[in-house]
């Protein structure tokens, strides 16, 4: 019945439609039939470059509709504050932020900012980055751009290159190298991982290491491992987009940087209880 119907359509629409009229019947017992048969090795036909719908509709309208269908994926945008916190510690309390805004998809333009300060002395460090990011593989992106420090002074400009992405065990990792306008070479490694305790509570261990190839006494920074920081934050995701957190942070300046700090009457170690908000739009 259906087969007949097919043929009806064929006569109306396209004569070429007709199917091979293989009358299905009892096949010899051992011979595979229908879909049990193996495929042959015929060559595919060449790709045609005509548009059959143009025979029925305005080719210009078809071309425009096809262009819309074939349009590459749109750009997306996100503004994200990973850290926005107050740091409570012995002596002077502080504050800290770290976040980015990006637009694109596989290729992104990223605007990054991070910094910290003490409530008494205002801003200790603050930097802005403009980064172009390009997807390398399913997990990693290669990034290059510029960084402008506002603090410490004298403020420096840098060129930067790095990679950012998800490492095995789902660690978010950023590794970047910077060359300043004075020729100073520095590097930074950041890593964090989200451990879900419940669907709403998330524990995030985080670490950051800053290294430098030269002393920069005018900025109070030494060479080697300048600064190491390990922290643990527990956030409550009221929504996936808005989560207050509480945490502990320990940072340690070493080598020359520690000496500069001591000379300035500051401790190279800092232990803080942090309170903040993680959010994105």
């Amino acid at each position: 019945m259906k087969h007949l119907a097919f043929l009806t359509l064929a006569t109306i629409a396209t004569p070429a439609y007709a199917q091979p009229a293989t009358a299905p019947q009892a096949a010899p017992t051992n011979e595979p039939v229908g879909t049990d048969q193996s495929p042959g090795s015929a060559e595919p036909p060449p790709i045609a470059h005509d548009h059959p719908a143009d025979r029925y509709f305005d080719p210009k309208a078809m071309a425009a509709a096809m262009a819309a269908t074939m349009a590459p994926a749109p750009r997306y945008t996100q503004v994200r504050l990973d850290l926005a916190e107050v740091q409570f510690r012995n002596g002077q309390n502080g504050y800290r932020w770290e976040g980015e805004a990006w637009t694109g998809d596989l290729n992104r333009f990223i605007f990054r900012s991070k910094g910290e300060g003490t409530t008494a002395q205002h801003l200790d460090s603050a930097e802005l980055q403009g980064i172009y990011s390009r997807a390398l593989d399913p997990w990693w992106n290669v990034q290059a751009g510029i960084r402008q420090d506002i603090r410490p002074t004298p403020a420096r400009s840098y060129a930067t290159i790095g990679i950012e992405g998800m490492a095995p065990y789902k660690f978010d990792v950023l590794i970047a190298a910077f060359v300043s306008d004075k020729g100073h070479l520095t590097g930074r490694i950041e890593a964090s991982v989200d451990e879900r305790i419940t669907q709403h509570w998330v524990l995030q261990p985080r670490m950051e290491f800053d290294v430098a190839a030269q002393d920069r006494p005018d900025q109070g920074l030494g060479h080697g491992l300048d600064n190491a920081e390990i922290s643990l934050r527990l956030r409550y995701e009221i929504t996936r987009q808005f989560a207050p957190y509480i945490g502990l942070s320990y940072s340690l300046a070493t080598g020359k940087t520690a000496d500069y700090l001591r000379a300035a009457g500051q401790s190279p170690q800092q232990r803080s209880i942090v309170l903040g908000i993680r959010s994105w739009l």
């Binding site: 097919f6 070429a16 199917q19 096949a27 015929a42 036909p45 096809m66 994926a73």
Partner: protein, 558 residues
């Protein structure tokens, strides 16, 4: 015309359930029956000349209004009740401020009537109309929906029933459409954007440390192994009950769409999955389901307790409730994050208990094509390009299935150990011999590829716009297509304009389908006879299609 639905709603409110009680005609689908409160009842339209208006509207889900794109003012739109052999002239008037289209899902129409903008026709610009004309050659249960933008996700879909020219072997005194869908109170474009910037955004059933301590889900060793691979065993649905409401015939679970039956009579249920992003597990506790048709094509009756239905698929099921009691149609989502629910009852107002959501399943190594039956998996690579030379190994390809498994004998994700009979593709056997039983002249492998962490979906590692090349075929050519799933998600792949034969060991009685679900880690083959034209071939998870998991099958005269 536009006011008619509103009038009906007013009537319904005034008359309570009277409207439903009066409409119990023989062989009339439950469509027009309106036993639940809510929006205006969709119409049933028949004949050779039909007009459909696409407009903006709203849909009441459990009493709360959601924005919608409607057909003749309703979600779902009007049921088209057609007769095999008739001609059909359908005028579609676009009242939207954007382009629209209607695609006749599963119908064999001339390609220029297939309704896909840019491929079969130019689309229907705002405030214009388009007339589709084609002969109705098939019979069975089908559906139609928008193929423009994200309109399908907003409610632009409706069922089609085509009665056979001859006697209907599955005719039943009671005949209900059960159209499943998912709908959100936020715009689907925002859902897509949230997935792009935060891929696990709607997965609220992740494994937790709390669960580990309570002895739930994977043990520590497995968790570490999966984390090392950067894989998540709970990632089986991108969009979940966290943001979707699940509907039956446009009704939320509390609205409780109800279909009537008289105890002892045969009831035909026409399940259609019009959901954009949801696979459902269907049960009617207390009743055996006799599956008699799949994708509108008759199959030898097979009795099951449950079946999984992927977006785009349809199943006709016969039940025979003998007791004077209500039964629940429970349509649990595959990831167990929600449920669509309806009731079958002898009288309006009756309800039956609703089964609780079962525990959400976890993906396993088998879903990665890494089930070695105890053999060592050492040396097995997750992304070995030599296994799939045609796949472009870019950022959009998270893995290459190392050993694709034929899973057509399995019941679908999460249903392996539910303690009762669940339908598998292998259970389906065509009632009549296949119309074309010739051997395929060649085989085409198509890899279904993706990267959940970047929310990218493609075929052979390229989106449709990146590939910009069709799959060429000769008219009348018999081709075997083997779909290999290189992702951890199920993908229901739909080929327009063709009914294909699944390669599941049933020879010339292969089940015939238009939408083929490929389980993670799995592969499925089908044989097709190419029909001239340009035909879309895509994942029917609409956001996957929107991201580029699509190709054009190009059929030209031999």
């Amino acid at each position: 015309m536009k006011l008619a639905p509103f009038d009906r709603r007013t009537l319904l409110r005034a008359g309570g359930l009277a409207a439903g009680a009066s409409a119990t005609g023989w062989a009339m689908p439950g469509w027009a029956h309106r036993l639940a409160q809510g929006q205006p009842a969709p119409e049933t339209l028949s004949g050779e000349s039909i007009t459909l208006r696409i407009g903006k509207g709203s849909l009441l889900i459990d009493g709360k209004a959601a924005k919608a794109v409607t057909i003749n003012g309703t979600v779902p739109g009007p049921l088209l009740r057609l007769k095999q052999g008739q001609n059909l002239k359908l005028t579609v008037i676009n009242d939207l401020d954007e382009e629209t289209s209607l695609h006749w899902h599963g119908l064999l129409v001339p390609f220029q009537m297939d309704g896909v903008p840019g491929i079969s026709f130019p689309g229907i610009p705002p405030h214009t109309s388009f007339t589709y004309e084609f002969p109705v050659t098939q019979s069975g249960t089908y559906w139609y929906h928008s193929h423009s933008g994200l309109q399908e996700l907003l409610g632009q879909y409706a069922p089609i029933i085509i009665d056979p020219a001859g006697p209907d072997i599955n005719a039943a005194p009671r005949d209900h459409v059960v159209m499943l869908s998912d709908h959100s109170f936020i715009h689907p474009a925002k859902i897509l954007r949230n997935l792009k910037v935060d891929p696990g955004h709607y997965n609220h059933q992740q494994q937790t440390l709390g669960g580990l301590l309570a002895g739930k889900d994977q043990p520590l060793g497995q968790r570490l192994a999966w984390a090392k691979m950067r894989m998540d065993p709970t990632d089986m649905a991108d969009v979940t009950g966290a943001v979707l409401s699940y509907l039956i015939n446009g009704h939320g679970p509390a609205d409780n769409w109800t279909g009537l039956f008289t105890p002892g009579e045969r009831v035909r249920l026409r399940f259609i999955n019009a959901a954009a992003m949801t696979l459902f597990n269907i049960r009617i506790p207390g009743l055996t389901l006799s599956v008699v048709a799949a994708d509108g094509q008759d199959v030898q009756s097979v009795a099951v307790d449950e079946f999984q239905i992927a977006p785009g698929e349809t199943y006709d099921v016969i039940i025979t409730p003998t007791q004077d009691r209500a039964y629940t149609i429970a349509a649990e989502t595959m990831d167990r994050s929600g449920m669509a629910r309806a009731t079958l009852a002898p009288r309006a107002g009756m309800i039956a208990s609703v089964p609780a959501l079962r525990e959400r399943p976890l993906l396993t190594m088998r879903d990665m094509g890494m089930d070695m039956g105890g053999m060592s998996m050492k040396g097995m690579k997750m992304r070995d390009g030599t296994l799939a030379p045609q796949v472009k190994l870019g950022p959009g390809v998270e893995m290459i299935n190392p050993m694709p498994i034929d899973r057509t004998g399995e019941p679908g994700l999460g249903l392996a150990n539910v303690g009762h009979k669940v339908l598998t593709y292998r259970d389906l056997v065509a009632l009549a011999p296949n119309p074309d039983t010739s051997a395929p002249a060649r085989e085409i492998e198509v890899h279904l590829t993706g990267n959940m962490d970047r929310y990218m979906w493609s075929m052979d590692g390229k989106t449709m716009s990146e590939a910009h090349a069709p799959l060429p075929m000769r008219s009348g050519e018999r081709v075997r297509i083997t779909l290999i799933n290189d992702t951890m998600m199920a993908h229901p792949i739909h080929l327009h304009g063709h009914i294909v034969e699944l390669v599941t060991g049933h020879g010339d009685h292969a089940p015939r389908k238009h939408t083929v679900n490929v389980l993670p880690g799995g592969k499925v083959s089908f044989d097709m006879t190419a029909i001239p034209g340009d035909w879309p071939f895509h994942c029917h998870l609409f956001l996957h299609m929107a991201m580029g998991m699509m190709r054009i099958v190009q059929v030209r005269p031999a």
